[in-house]
């Protein structure tokens, strides 16, 4: 919902299964706004194609549903016969017909027949649900699997341009919506349709006049529902809007809690909250009330039908046009009739929202994937770490080139420092090196091999990377380090941790390497997280290292130790370092100065100072301030 689109990543989302529109609570869910699919037919067809492997099961579901419904439809009429027999016997008694008695043999036979019908109907109803459970859940399982597989094949461009919440909501909430529909609404639809047809036939066989009465009440309820639904949609929209505002306010106030407290704005924030809350209440109760009117109105209209049946039926019996048991049967039919009608109305909504959900899921599945791998892929068996950019051009958007004709040659073992103000687009280079994005023209070569001629997997195995935002998952510290290389031994993990100076702090934790990082990994500090990701990179033992501002949130003293480990690690490896610290920058073999996304200067420290350009300016601002400070 609205909240999912914000606050990426860290959001805990336990209420993912929200009973939103299309939650399918029968008539109670009516009147909520329904999302509509753009291409209903096409999406429906495609969704149906997912059910194809289960054709046999679906046919049996259909058959069992029909059998079970037909049997339950027939029974009221048979039961009515028993009542009629009773009544007739009674009337004979009243009229003192000689030897009059109620024919219990006949009634007994009917009852045995009924019991049989009921049991068979129940068995088939159970079978139907039982089979459908397997079909629906497996279909959804496959759909989820497909989405996950797709996510792994999508280029990073896709993820960078969308929030995680949005993708998550499609992969989880929308798929879940489909699951509920397949499980419940589909069979409901079948039984409803069968019931409606069956009941009409049965009613007609009893009395066409009374059938007409029941059917005449239908448009009445239709009009009532449509009117109310329209009205309630307005309130639901208002409610949705206030809810969105409220969620936004809460999110902002909680994340900014510290600032609010220290600036003493608690009261103001509560006042604002209460204002939105009041608005939510006003539209909320109205939406609730108006949509809640549907049920009473419908049951009233049903009751009108009921009364008419009783009256007309009663008169018809006195005229001997129908039998008394028929009234009883008819009342039961009329009751059975209104329920599936209401159901199909809400199912129509559910199906609409399901198709809209399916469409959103299919949109993910239809996204263009990464450029396919080279057919005859090259493999570098002994990577040396030579990196060459030849006439590379690149831009995130068409017509907005960021890099134009870039040429660099990095020899094995050299260190490249990437410098520039924040937001200068330093991660762009990494995106290109690792082929997270495709370049527009030119070539990037590693050990003389075009990166596009290698498999991505192979290319990436040459790199080790420590990113600015540490990514750790909800598992033990050991597992998080071991992520660097599949099948790493215990000793290797500990050695890597030691090399990253993480071993010590890990051992001071209560559970040591077995400590489970919580979902936001908030049980260790930012610096410690960084150390773990460094350990992970060390374990991977790559030919080329990428350090993306890796040490900026590790404090100075820890950094000294990391730096030592890194220096050791970088020996013999080509490394790209996005750094803030001049000491790192100065020792680099090549400095790339970036601004506004493109490389504006390159060279060694001395060369660049001599050039007296952007870099010199940057460097001097730091240098002069030091001089002043020191002096």
């Amino acid at each position: 919902m609205s909240k999912d689109s914000k606050n990426q990543g860290h959001e805990q989302n336990p209420g993912a299964r929200k009973a939103g529109p299309g939650g399918g609570f029968g008539p109670m869910g009516m009147g909520m706004p329904v999302q509509k699919a753009k291409d209903f037919k096409g999406t429906l067809k495609r969704l149906v194609s997912y059910l194809k492997p289960y054709k046999l099961q679906l046919i049996s579901v259909l058959i069992t549903a029909i059998i079970s419904t037909v049997f339950s439809i027939v029974s009221p009429k048979i039961m009515g016969n028993a009542t009629t027999k009773l009544f007739e016997g009674l009337m004979m008694k009243i009229n003192r017909v000689p030897g009059a008695k109620i024919d219990f043999d006949y009634i007994g036979q009917i009852i045995i027949l009924l019991i049989g019908l009921y049991i068979i109907s129940a068995i088939f109803a159970y079978l139907q649900g039982y089979i459908m459970a397997g079909v629906a859940q497996k279909t959804v399982y496959n759909l989820r699997k497909e989405v996950e597989g797709k996510i792994n094949r999508l280029p990073l461009k896709y993820f960078d341009s969308r929030t995680h919440g949005e993708i998550l909501s499609r992969a989880v909430n929308d798929v879940d919506n489909i699951s509920t529909t397949l499980q419940q609404s589909l069979t409901q639809l079948i039984t409803s349709v069968v019931t409606i047809i069956g009941v009409i036939i049965m009613m007609l066989s009893i009395s066409p006049l009374m059938t007409l009465i029941v059917i005449l009440t239908l448009p009445l309820s239709g009009v009532a529902i449509a009117k109310i639904a329209k009205k309630s949609q307005q309130f639901f929209k208002g409610q949705q809007k206030s809810l969105g505002q409220l969620n936004g306010h809460v999110e902002e106030m909680y994340t900014g809690h510290k600032v609010i407290k220290v600036f003493g704005h608690e009261q103001k924030s509560i006042e604002q909250f209460e204002e939105i809350n009041e608005k939510l209440y006003q539209s909320g109760w109205k939406a609730q009330f108006v949509s809640g009117m549907i049920m009473p109105l419908m049951s009233f209209i049903n009751n009108i039908g009921y009364v008419l049946i009783s009256v007309v039926g009663g008169i018809l019996v006195t005229k001997n046009a129908i039998k008394i048991g028929d009234i009883q049967a008819f009342i039961q039919y009329a009751r059975q009739f209104s329920q599936p009608i209401a159901q199909t109305a809400s199912i129509a909504n559910v199906i609409q929202s399901t198709i809209a959900s399916a469409e959103r899921v299919f949109e993910i599945l239809d996204e263009t994937e990464e450029v396919p791998e080279a057919v005859a892929a090259e493999v570098i068996t002994e990577p040396k770490g030579e990196v060459t950019f030849e006439h590379v051009a690149f831009g995130y958007k068409e017509n907005e080139p960021l890099i134009d004709d870039m040429n660099i040659a990095v020899k094995p073992g050299q260190r490249v420092a990437i410098v520039g103000p924040t937001g200068a687009g330093k991660t762009t280079l990494i995106n290109l090196l690792m082929r997270f994005y495709e370049i527009d023209s030119g070539t990037i070569l590693i050990d003389g091999v075009d990166t596009r001629e290698m498999k991505r997997e192979h290319l990436r195995s040459l790199f080790g990377m420590v990113l600015q935002d540490t990514w750790l998952f909800n598992s033990t510290i050991r597992d998080n380090i071991a992520y660097g290389r599949e099948g790493a031994t215990e000793d290797e993990i500990v050695a890597a941790a030691r090399a990253a100076n993480a071993d010590h702090f890990i051992r001071t934790l209560p559970d040591g390497y077995e400590t489970i990082l919580n979902e936001e990994a908030s049980n260790i500090s930012q610096g410690q997280k960084q150390l773990l990701t460094i350990a992970r990179a060390i374990l991977a033992n790559p030919a080329i290292l990428i350090l993306d501002e890796a040490t900026s949130s590790v404090d100075t003293r820890t950094e000294v130790q990391i730096q030592k480990a890194m220096d050791h690690l970088m020996k013999g490896r080509t490394s790209f370092v996005i750094a803030h610290r001049l000491s790192t920058i100065r020792d680099a073999d090549l400095i790339l100065v970036m601004n506004h996304g493109s490389v504006i200067e390159k060279g060694t420290h001395e060369e660049l100072l001599e050039k007296d350009g952007f870099y010199a300016d940057l460097y001097n601002s730091q240098f002069t301030s030091n001089q002043r400070n020191a002096g």
Binding site: N7, F104, A122, K145, G248, M465
Partner: protein
């Protein structure tokens, strides 16, 4: 769930109304078959058409009455449930407002957000359902039994047998089903988590070539969920048929035993027909009830989570008799302060003693986990110390009100937080009645003027929620301006220059010097260059002060400090 019911108290009257109205509505529903029985027994048997019409008209009135009751019940339940939601939200929100950082750490910010929003909405929805549908079942049951009993007490025995069987069936399925539903929720969350990790870590996953691994992880979670979902739905598939069979067999029983009683002249045919309908209505209401238990586990999870928030008591409270500071304005002193985070084995900081005076700049430097942020969080009393005292203006912070204390402080947090609104509004957050000039001046000192004037609306440019439309460095500068406009006695900068490039950093520090004049300034920093000219530098290591002094003094006396400096500056810079 039950614990939350105390918040229903203000809505007692509407809720009693709802219950009463639902009872009336049920009675009306049940009265219709009784009237129909009259039509059969008195009208049809004697052929009295006029009587049939009369009763028919009466039935319409009863039906209309039932509808009115039902509408009114809908009205009151909507009001009560929405009111309850509103009350609970306000309660939770203002309660969370009283939390100190400690409680935020414990429950997690993201989790607190969902608890205040989604969880309460969930509960509110369930309450509506409870009031409208769940209340119906017992009412129908009571009303139905009364009606049935009044028609024929002996035949009521059929219900006495059928109802317990139905209830038993529901209970058994619920017992089996509820844990499964709960398990399914857990597994769904699990799947969610795996997928979210997959998205947030996509670069890492791809660069380490662990796509296959992630696929397996996802598949395991996916399959696990599917298995449970199949189990749940298979169980649920049994529910309806079982209920229908109980329902249908009892009608059959009614016909059989009713027939015998009719034959013996104890009962009339119309009564039996009415009886069948009572039974149906009672049992249908039970079936409705059983549908609800799908919602109960979800709601109870939400309720538990909300209760957790409400039961969490903020451990920082204002004193009964606050004392006002009499000492020098802006003086801060730590006396033997020790503090540990709850559950931690070791104190985060121990035996910290130092003081800072107006007009002085104090800097703190130290390694990861050395306790720098912890230390400064004690000054605005985000946490309470375990032992020792933190004094501001000569008074223990625990003896002032939090408002008095924080009025003195201009705090710039490590992570710049901005709020939805214009840039000017965000700066004014520090001082609500700041003039335009004051705002401009603060922005200028914070080196924010340049980028603000680059924006199309200047100071009136809107900051999006979470400040997503400004860069990290810009956010930091605005958050500094916000503290500056306050003109506080004490400035606290918690590593607030990290997102700035060298040039801006240097300019900003130059400008700040003139601005902070008589105030006490505390700076936590990573870069030595930022703090090199501070009046005193505290070197923190493992939560203890290992050195206090100026840069020059520390270069000689502190090995830790020297190590830090060496890593950052070249020889000529140090000299």
């Amino acid at each position: 769930m039950i614990k939350l019911s105390r918040f229903l108290k203000p809505f007692q009257i509407p809720i009693y109304f709802v219950l009463g109205l639902v009872l009336l509505q049920s009675l009306a529903e049940l009265y219709l078959p009784t009237l129909m029985a009259d039509i059969v027994d008195k009208g049809v048997v004697t052929g009295d058409t006029a009587y049939i019409w009369k009763i028919g008209g009466f039935m319409l009135l009863v039906a209309a009455g039932g509808m009115i009751c039902s509408l009114a019940a809908s009205f009151y339940s909507a009001k009560a449930a929405s009111g309850f939601g509103k009350l609970l939200r306000t309660k939770v929100f203002s309660h969370v407002g009283d939390f100190s950082l400690h409680e935020f750490d414990k429950l997690g910010t993201a989790s607190l957000i969902t608890r205040t929003t989604n969880d309460i909405t969930q509960i509110q929805q369930v309450l509506v359902m409870m009031l409208r549908m769940m209340a119906m079942a017992p009412m129908m049951c009571i009303g139905g039994i009364i009606m049935a009993y009044s028609k024929d007490s002996k035949l009521t025995l059929v219900l006495a047998v059928a109802l317990p069987i139905l209830v038993l069936a529901i209970v058994i399925i619920a017992k089996k089903g509820i844990p499964l539903f709960k398990a399914m929720q857990v597994k769904l969350d699990n799947l969610n988590r795996v997928l979210r990790e997959n998205l947030t870590g996509i670069r890492v996953i791809r660069s380490f070539n662990r796509v296959e691994h992630e696929k397996k992880r996802f598949d395991a979670a996916n399959w696990d969920l599917t298995q449970t979902a199949i189990k749940v739905n298979k169980l649920m598939a049994a529910m309806m048929p079982i209920m229908m069979i109980v329902l249908n067999l009892s009608t059959v029983a009614i016909i059989w035993f009713g027939g015998i009683r009719i034959s013996n002249g104890h009962m009339q045919v119309g009564d039996m027909m009415a009886f069948i309908q009572y039974a149906m209505q009672i049992m249908f209401s039970f079936i409705m009830l059983s549908m609800m238990f799908v919602m109960i586990p979800r709601a109870s999870v939400s309720a538990v989570r909300i209760n957790e928030v409400i039961d969490t008591v903020a451990d920082i409270k204002n004193p009964a008799n606050p004392v006002l500071g009499k000492g020098a304005k802006g003086q801060v002193e730590f006396r033997n302060v020790t503090f540990s985070y709850p559950g931690a084995e070791m104190p985060a900081i121990s035996n910290i003693s130092f003081s800072m005076n107006p007009g002085e700049v104090t800097a703190i430097i130290g390694g990861t986990g050395s306790g720098k942020s912890t230390l400064i969080n004690l000054i605005p009393r985000f946490y309470d110390v375990d032992s020792g005292n933190v004094l501001v203006d000569g008074v223990d912070v625990r003896e002032m009100t939090q408002e008095q204390l924080r009025e003195k402080i201009g705090f710039v947090p490590q992570q710049a937080v901005l709020f939805t609104g214009t840039i000017a509004e965000n700066i004014r957050y520090g001082k609500e009645d700041a003039t335009e000039d004051e705002v401009r001046h603060a922005a200028e000192i914070a080196q924010a003027n340049e980028f603000i004037s680059d924006m199309p609306d200047g100071f009136d440019a809107t900051i999006a929620q979470g400040g997503t439309n400004v860069s990290g460095g810009q956010k930091q500068r605005l958050s500094i301006a916000r503290a500056l406009v306050r003109k506080p006695e004490i400035y606290i900068f918690d590593d607030s220059f990290s997102a700035l490039d060298f040039k801006t950093d240097a300019k900003l520090r130059g400008a700040l010097k003139g601005e902070t004049g008589d105030s006490t300034v505390l700076i936590v920093a990573q870069r030595v260059s930022t703090i090199i000219d501070a009046d005193q530098i505290l070197v923190l290591d493992n939560g203890e002060i290992t050195g206090i002094g100026t840069h020059k003094e520390l270069m000689e006396s502190s090995a830790v400090y020297r190590e830090i400096v060496m890593s950052q500056l070249s020889e000529e810079e140090i000299a």
